[in-house]
């Protein structure tokens, strides 16, 4: 019995089991739901983990070639759906799931990856409101990165021609869906920004399924949008579609048509605002001139300006008045002086010797003209001159007689008896 039994080596048996498993189509392409535990990322880049549920566990490995395309970071406790094949790891004699693709269970891998990428880029500051640039009022050229075959480019051209017929557009034709799309969009953005005079860029595509819009969630595209040297307006799909490119763009437009509305100014509006500005200028100048005129008039009419003249009048009047008063005063003084001088001359007249002589007195003078005041002054025979009112009389001394003694000191006088003191006045 024993001899007839087929005895395998461990390797043979393992290989047998391996083949058995391999021949089962279900195990060659299988998807498993479970929770990640014992997650390890080897330095080689391969991922090792165990998938568990309440009662069982399954060893799993994801090689670097597949792991590199993971859009999210697996971690312990994460519920996932892993797809791949089951085979035996011969050295350990254990069957394992060789994972080709891994996606989070529940949310759907795309959305989790999106959330994770969004969080990461958010933390990097790529979506900061402070990074948002204002769109130019009048771009010299509008760059458009989209597919020439799509509806978006038609909408953009239509709106642009309606709003500003002569505004130049520069279109870069890129694939907006499919595996190549992210790279093409990045290249398109880079290229269009180098076209001279392109002051703003619209990047986007028309509506489509989530998968069709997915290129605009690609990290490289989001970074290219953020890095674009000129402002970027994103216009992906319809109003309800949000992509990460929208968050990185300076402005998110709900649709390509709306993007063109935002980017291409309405020529009529610009013309109006220029006209209005010119109108305001004219009005302001007119006002300024009127203001100047009014101020000038106010200044000219002001008391300050009128006062000097007024003052002059007042001064002139005062001068006149003073002149008049001066004349009056002067005349009065002259009158006074005249009166005084007349009075004085009258007094003087009364004292004149001539007046004394007119009253009958006379004055005797010796030959030298000296007034004779004493009998001792003359000798007999001496010739004298006797002054009277109307002339003089020649006379000679015949003799002298002293006046008899009088009261008082008594001094000799001639018969002419003149008070010499008074006469000499």
């Amino acid at each position: 019995m024993v001899l007839t039994r087929q005895v395998f080596s461990v390797s043979q048996l393992t290989q047998f089991i391996k083949d058995l498993l391999w021949n089962e189509p279900v195990l060659r392409e299988v998807a498993v739901r479970g929770e990640i535990s014992n997650f390890k990322r080897h330095t080689s880049g391969h991922l090792y983990f165990t998938l568990k549920d309440q009662s069982s566990s399954l060893r799993s490995v994801m090689f670097r070639s597949h792991a590199a395309s993971l859009a999210f970071r697996p971690h312990d406790g994460l519920k996932v759906i892993a797809a791949g094949h089951i085979t035996v790891y011969e050295r350990d004699g254990a069957y394992q799931l060789y994972v080709r693709s891994l996606e989070p269970d529940g949310l759907g891998s795309l959305y989790l990856a999106l959330e994770q990428l969004k969080k990461k880029l958010e933390q990097e500051g790529l979506f900061d409101p402070g990074r948002k640039r204002a769109l130019p009022r009048l771009p010299r050229r509008v760059g458009v990165v989209t597919s020439l075959q799509g509806a978006a480019v038609r909408d953009i051209i239509t709106v642009s021609r309606r709003r500003f017929p002569n505004l130049p557009l520069v279109i870069v034709d890129v694939a907006v869906q499919g595996a190549e799309a992210p790279e093409r969009i990045c290249q398109g953005l880079e290229l269009v920004a180098r076209v001279p005079e392109v002051d703003v860029v619209i990047v986007g595509r028309g509506g489509g399924s989530v998968e069709e819009l997915w290129a605009f969630n690609d990290e490289t595209v989001v970074r290219a949008v953020a890095a674009c040297p000129v402002p970027v307006v994103s216009a992906v799909g319809h109003e309800t579609d949000f992509t990460l490119a929208d968050f990185a763009a300076d402005v998110r437009a709900p649709t390509p048509s709306a993007a063109a509305e935002l980017v291409v100014p309405d020529r009529a509006v610009l013309e109006r605002s220029i006209e209005q500005a010119a109108g305001r200028l004219r009005l302001a100048l007119v006002r300024r001139t009127e203001l100047a005129r009014a101020r000038w008039k106010r200044a000219v009419d002001s008391p300050a300006m009128r006062r000097p003249q007024d003052r002059l009048h007042q001064l002139e009047q005062r001068v006149d008045e003073l002149t008049r008063r001066l004349g009056v005063a002067a005349a009065r003084r002259v009158e006074q002086a005249r009166g005084r001088s007349e009075r004085l001359s009258a007094r003087l007249d009364a004292l004149s010797p001539l007046a004394v002589l007119a009253r009958g007195y006379s004055v005797c003078l010796d030959s030298t003209g000296a007034v004779i005041r004493s009998i001792g002054h003359v000798v007999a025979g001496e010739e004298l001159e006797v002054l009277v009112a109307d002339g003089s009389i020649g006379a000679a001394v015949t003799g002298t007689r002293a006046r008899p003694a009088e009261r008082g000191e008594g001094h000799g006088t001639t018969n002419t008896s003149v008070d010499p003191g008074k006469a000499e006045l």
Binding site: R154, L167, A277, L285
Partner: protein
């Protein structure tokens, strides 16, 4: 590349710059506390700006080009022929 960037930096003021300056001039002039000479100078500047701005609206060329990568990696523009039957 070099002469091109130089040409770009030496460009005339953009529509933006001119429009901003015009708005500034209008506000200054409207504020009213300027000398009459200054007001006149500003007015002349403003009117010139308005004329320049209108010119800038006309200066654009109604072209739709496609940018392609040229030999040196530089963009090359070729006119896009719009297909009317493209709908």
């Amino acid at each position: 590349m070099e002469p091109q960037t130089q040409a770009l930096t030496q460009e005339k003021p953009s529509f933006e710059t001119n429009l901003q300056r015009l708005e500034e001039v209008v506000k200054l002039l409207e504020s009213g506390d300027l000398s009459l000479e200054r007001a006149l100078t500003l007015f002349q500047e403003g009117i010139t700006l308005a004329r320049t701005l209108s010119g800038q609206l006309d200066a654009a060329e109604a072209r739709i080009d496609q940018a392609l990568k040229g030999a040196g990696g530089e963009p090359v523009l070729v006119p896009v022929v719009q297909r009317s039957d493209g709908e």
